[in-house]
Amino acid sequence: MDKPFVEALARQAGLERALAEFPDCVANAAAQALGRSGEIHAPANPAAEPWPPMKVGGTK
């Protein structure tokens, strides 16, 4: 992610203060997020559901 894009995402997430005080931490966090999501193989089956599943009756 380029710097302006990271800064825009950080502001959208409400991280203005972190961006001003800890810009290296914000850039590091963004780099971690980008590196991880790219390694996941998306399921080939369009009907593959996420886990944990939606299940009624377990909210107590």
């Binding site: 950080a10 800890f22 999501s37 996941i40 998306a42 886990w51």
Partner: protein, 465 residues
């Protein structure tokens, strides 16, 4: 009793109480003296509750003397990781962010331990909010490794591992979201179990990631681990992830051995995905050979790569952790330490699509591990790929901390146990991990005990001053 009270297991202490050879007060006093002498070098504790422990010991002693023995943990000391509520003590999460007000109630696991008669010794060091690594910019110093205090003790249940390894208590509770019970078990040469997801209540435990968090027993030997799990397992109707499995005796098959048990060796984790330190690899081969020599049937098993397991675990962890910490990270980012701030913010940069891709792949990964465990009874694999690095070497710690094979089983919810596999030439612990089917902790203990008995790992302790 001997001068080695600090190495007593819970089971041995319980037997000594029953035979009137030892009292809870004697044991607690001996351990408090050892903590006072040695903990300033190790920082396992955030807070020692000497007054509370002695009061509980006196009460236990009176009950035991009157013949009202509650069970094998009655009068046995336990340390509690400081993200778990203990009534009357603050839950600091090792962070400046948390208020200093005391918890008003015990976490369910602590209440269960008190009901069993265990004695809470105090609150133990962790990584800030159970994530990151050893940090020197927090209100309390990081715990150190009892085998060599210049090295880290693993984490995030670092005080639990360090305190067990140092002989400060025979039992401890840790929590495990990406490996945080099993990392200190590996680094400190003790036994750490991440139970099946939902087997142990999380109520009263500060969350890191709801769908990955587990509370786990940490001990110096396998039999004690089974005893501790027995005390804390069970359905909690107020924990939405809790389940009600059939009641079982976790220690029932401890001494049965492994003859004809089928063990799947997940070699690609440490041989291809994240090539392990040669001493770690040699240690794993020794465990496999030893168990084969005891009659187990070994075969190789293939699972998804560690890189993909780690990515799925971290996307979910980051998203869930961000949902918890976002308000504080927005308002007071400077109250976090550097590592906590960096590890808790990535969720702000993940998309809904990233999270759903991880959760959908997670379902497939659970099915793949289930399928592997239809062909074998237990999996054997690496825990840490390296011996613990020097605690002051932040770069090496950052390089080696993610080199692990624990996160896969937070992602899939399977029970996984890490323990000592031997000692490296430098005298630091090497580790092995066993994994079983959901709710089959008894088989996990059976295999772990077979290795422990064959190798004598329960008799290996660090030399402390």
């Amino acid at each position: 009793m001997t001068d080695d009270l600090h190495w007593l297991t819970a089971a041995a202490a319980s037997r000594a109480y029953a035979a009137r050879r030892l009292s809870p007060t004697e044991l607690v006093r001996a351990l408090l003296a050892r903590i006072e002498r040695l903990d300033p070098q190790l920082n396992a504790f955030i807070r020692v509750d000497a007054e509370g422990a002695l009061a509980a010991a006196t009460a236990a002693e009176a009950e035991i003397a009157a013949g009202r023995i509650r069970g094998p943990l009655h009068g046995v000391p336990v340390g509690i990781k400081d993200i778990i509520d203990v009534a009357g003590l603050p839950t600091t999460c090792h962070s400046k962010v948390m208020p200093a007000t005391p918890a008003t109630a015990d976490a369910v696991v602590v209440a269960k331990l008190r009901q069993a008669g265990a004695i809470v010794m105090g609150k133990l060091s962790t990584h800030e909010f159970a994530i990151g690594g050893p940090s020197f910019d927090l209100p309390w110093p990081p715990a150190r490794n009892p085998w060599n205090r210049d090295h880290h003790p693993g984490g995030s249940s670092s005080g639990s591992g360090a305190g067990l390894g140092a002989g400060f208590f025979p039992l401890a509770l840790g929590t495990d979201t990406g490996g945080s019970v099993r990392n200190p078990a590996s680094a400190c040469g003790i036994v750490g179990l991440k139970p099946t997801y939902g087997l142990v209540s999380r109520r009263g435990v500060f969350p890191l990631a709801f769908s990955l968090d587990h509370v786990g027993p940490m001990t110096r030997d396998v039999a004690d681990n089974a005893l501790l799990l027995d005390a804390i397992a069970g359905h909690d109707p107020h924990d939405s992830g809790s389940v009600a499995p059939p009641r079982q005796d976790y220690a029932a098959r401890l001494e049965r051995g492994v003859r004809d048990l089928r063990i799947g060796f997940v070699r690609h984790f440490h041989e291809h995905d994240m090539p392990a330190h040669p001493e770690v690899a040699a240690g794993l081969d020794t465990v496999a050979r030893t168990l084969a020599g005891e009659g187990a049937i070994l075969r190789d098993v293939t699972l998804p790569t560690l890189g993909e397991f780690a990515a799925v675990n971290r996307v979910i962890l980051n998203a869930e952790a961000w949902s918890i910490h976002a308000p504080w990270l927005r308002e007071r980012p400077g109250d976090y330490g550097l590592l906590g701030r960096r590890r808790l913010m990535p969720g702000a940069f993940l998309s809904a699509g990233d999270l759903l891709a991880a959760q959908r792949r997670r379902a497939e990964m659970i099915a793949l591990v289930d399928a592997a465990l239809e062909e074998v009874d237990v999996l054997l694999c690496a825990s840490s790929m390296d011996p613990p690095s020097r605690i002051e070497d932040a770069e090496e710690t950052a390089r080696t901390y993610p080199r692990q094979a624990r996160a896969p089983f937070n992602t899939t919810g399977h029970p996984a146990l890490a323990m000592l596999a031997g000692l490296a030439a430098a005298g630091l612990p090497l580790s092995v991990q066993f994994v079983a089917r959901h709710f089959d902790e008894a088989t996990l203990f059976q295999v772990a005990r077979a290795w422990e008995r064959a190798a004598g790992t329960d008799r290996m302790h660090p030399q402390l001053g």
